[in-house]
């Protein structure tokens, strides 16, 4: 495998969990709900997926359990922010704090009693990357096909989410709820139900992102396996300007940066690692600057106008 293909392979692999979670968070934020619980939900997704596969030996069941856990946590967030109209930032942060702690707690208690640290350091079934004969040796294309099934699912999800948001009626309803819930409500769209639905859907995708870490990318459970990737997702949503099609570039940039910088180090280059680590964040700042100008020119892109605000029918 040539260097470019090998870097691209690992970049896509690293970017999968980020892309899944970013699309999930985009759908959530499009409905006007800011979910800062990404880090916590990813950790719980990673833990529940690994715990399930350890006991049941079934990858499919593991994915289903992770999705259910993600849905449950997101449901809690939706309930707190939509029905109870709690502050979205506070609710999201508490979900992250809870998820981080609870995942570590469970990780030390689930698993066989013979293992000192229970689930930590154990092995189980994993999702292995495919290697289709004939295709895998083609440069560049080889990187795209030598991936696991969750990555293939992500390939499908990106155009689907984009098509849904911009080309279908429910997508339009979703966007209108995030832009102007009052008007959407007046048009007969159920704002509360829409927000519930996409927050939960978002939670499912975020948890799948976490499951990808513990089932495929770094198989096994270790505490804080996400290492702050949930926060990168929050930045990626902004980077992609709430557009699923653009999420891919951000995820590849953030996911690939380590792959690239470790390889540059291993090949003995002179570019400092810290400089490379900084690049995606500079990218995000640049995108924000450009976006602000663009927004001033035309009202077409940018954050959903009602993001972070609760909706109450009587409010004016």
């Amino acid at each position: 495998m040539d260097l470019l293909t090998s870097i691209l392979t690992i970049t896509i692999r690293a970017g999968t969990s980020l892309t899944l979670a970013t699309i999930g968070e985009i759908l959530t934020e499009r409905s006007g709900i800011l979910n800062l619980g990404v880090e916590g939900i990813m950790l719980l997704g990673a833990l529940s997926a690994f715990a399930t596969v350890f006991y049941s030996h079934s990858i499919l069941l593991a994915l289903l359990v992770a999705m259910a856990v993600g849905a449950l946590m997101a449901l809690l967030h939706a309930f707190l922010t939509t029905t109870m109209r709690a502050n979205q930032v506070v609710s999201g942060l508490s979900i992250t704090l809870f998820g981080t702690g609870f995942a570590s707690f469970l990780g030390q208690r689930l698993g066989p009693a013979t293992n000192n640290f229970r689930l930590v350091g154990l092995r189980a079934e994993r999702i292995t990357p495919l290697a289709p004969a004939g295709l895998k040796d083609i440069p560049i294309l080889g990187a795209l096909v030598q991936q696991d099934l969750l990555t293939y699912l992500t390939y499908l999800l990106i155009p689907l989410a984009w098509f849904f948001l911009y080309k279908t009626r429910p997508g339009l309803w979703l966007r209108s709820v995030g832009e102007d819930p009052q008007t959407a409500d007046a048009m007969g769209i159920d704002v509360v139900r829409t927000r519930y639905r996409y927050t939960v859907l978002g939670g499912i995708l975020i948890a799948l992102g976490g499951a990808h870490l513990s089932l495929s990318y770094t198989p096994g459970w270790s505490e804080n396996i996400t290492g702050g990737r949930g926060w990168i997702v929050i930045a990626l949503v902004i980077f992609s300007m709430w557009n699923p099609a653009r999420a891919i570039w951000g995820a590849l940039l953030f996911g690939g940066i380590n792959a690239v910088q470790f390889r540059l180090q291993a090949s003995g280059t002179n570019i400092p690692a810290n400089f490379l680590n900084m690049m995606p964040y500079i990218g995000t700042i640049l995108v924000l600057v450009v976006m602000t100008w663009w927004e001033a020119l035309s009202k077409r892109v940018g954050a959903p106008a009602a993001l972070g605000t609760s909706y109450m029918r009587e409010d004016k």
């Binding site: 090998s6 690992i10 690293a14 570590s104 990780g107 030390q108 000192n116 640290f117 229970r118 930590v120 350091g121 870490l213 990318y217 770094t218 096994g220 270790s222 505490e223 804080n224 396996i225 996400t226 290492g227 990737r229 380590n258 792959a259 470790f262 390889r263 180090q265 291993a266 090949s267 003995g268 400092p272 690692a273 810290n274 680590n277």
Partner: protein
């Protein structure tokens, strides 16, 4: 009714006056540990936790130990350490380099509490430091790696470019080159002590670059697992990683804090504790070589034994001739790098590929 209540209160007050006095008589020594990661990292913190458990078992109800995990270096650490001091802990062990200044700050405010900081260099009348020459064990693992590599490229996943890590890389490389002068040690920095995903990514990058053995200075077993998945060997650090990963881990340089912790607490209980800077090595048992994997031939094991005897006999692994990366002799034959120069080491020996950034 009121009288009975008052009477009861009076009795309670008298009891409460007597109780603390009796409790004080056999009050156990309170010992706290502050950890940078979770004990379940199976590496650095795992070994400290093993030391704490051994300590508790040794002294039984004479002491009471407690730990707190995942404490970030910086302001959070100071808050946690101060909290322990306020709660009346008598001895506080802080087990990461970045806890040095926070520990010192709290030590100044609590002169009666004893502070023990691992891997730093600042002390106070009530604050001591302790660490070990793990590079002596690394030197021995280097001999194994030097003999077992086929590509003559050995990868090294390293956390931060600080003297502790640099010393380890140099000790390891000197071991490698003592038996295989053509082998090179390729270093990749991750800039984190604990991040399973990054540690694995760095190891994979090194494997892709043609390294066939992965050594590391990190807190988890991910680099070892990544090497194993590619069918390659690895060298463990912190704990006997072969136990968690398998015999693809040829040997590990391991910490053994138990003896030091027991000795320190004994001194505190005897009242003979004084501030110090402890820096033990293989001969003190604080740094050790783990059991060697069955994949290593007996001839190599013999070689390791010979070197180990030499070190136990007082020979320093940092004995010249030692060349730097440019090939220049920096320490002449027979010259030993003095301790202070070892403690501030910021350059690589010949055979290391990479930079101290």
């Amino acid at each position: 009714m009121r009288k009975t209540v008052l009477g009861l209160l009076a009795v309670l007050m008298m009891v409460s006056l007597v109780l603390p006095a009796t409790a004080q008589a056999r009050k156990p020594l309170k010992v706290a540990f502050v950890y940078i990661g979770p004990p379940g990292d199976l590496g650095w913190t795992y070994e400290h936790e093993r030391g704490r458990l051994a300590l508790q078992k040794y002294f039984g109800d004479k002491i009471e130990t407690k730990y707190i995990e995942n404490v970030p270096e910086g302001p959070d650490a100071e808050r946690v350490i101060r909290q322990y001091a306020i709660q009346g802990y008598d001895v506080i062990f802080t087990t990461s380099f970045g806890y040095m200044d926070p520990t010192l700050a709290v030590a100044k405010d609590f002169p009666k509490v004893i502070f023990e900081h691992c891997s730093g260099y600042k002390t106070a009348p009530n604050m001591a430091t302790y660490f070990g020459r793990i590079e002596e064990a690394r030197y021995l693992t280097g001999i194994i790696a030097g003999r077992m590599t086929k590509s003559n490229k050995i990868g090294y996943v390293a956390a931060f470019p600080i003297p502790e890590v640099v010393r380890g890389i140099n000790g390891f490389t000197l071991g490698v080159r003592s038996v295989n002068p053509r082998a090179q040690v390729q270093v990749v920095w991750t800039n984190t002590w604990y991040d399973p995903v990054k540690e694995r990514e760095a190891a994979v990058a090194l494997l892709d670059a043609g390294c066939d053995i992965i050594a590391q200075h990190q807190d988890t077993t991910e680099p070892q697992k990544a090497a194993q998945e590619r069918g390659k060997f690895s060298i463990g650090y912190d704990s006997d990683m072969g136990k968690f990963v398998g015999d693809s881990v040829l040997a590990s340089a391991v910490w053994n804090w138990e003896t030091y912790y027991i000795e320190t607490i004994r001194q505190v209980l005897d009242g003979t504790w004084k501030t110090h800077q402890y820096w033990g090595g293989l001969k003190d048992g604080i740094a050790k070589l783990s059991a060697i994997s069955p994949k290593v031939p007996d001839a190599v094991k013999k070689e390791v034994e010979t070197a180990q005897k030499k070190i136990l006999g007082g020979w320093s692994i940092f004995t010249g001739p030692i060349k730097d990366q440019s090939g220049k002799v920096v320490y002449k034959a027979g010259e030993v790098i003095p301790d202070d120069k070892q403690l501030s080491m910021d350059w690589f020996v010949e055979g290391v590929v990479g930079k101290v950034q």
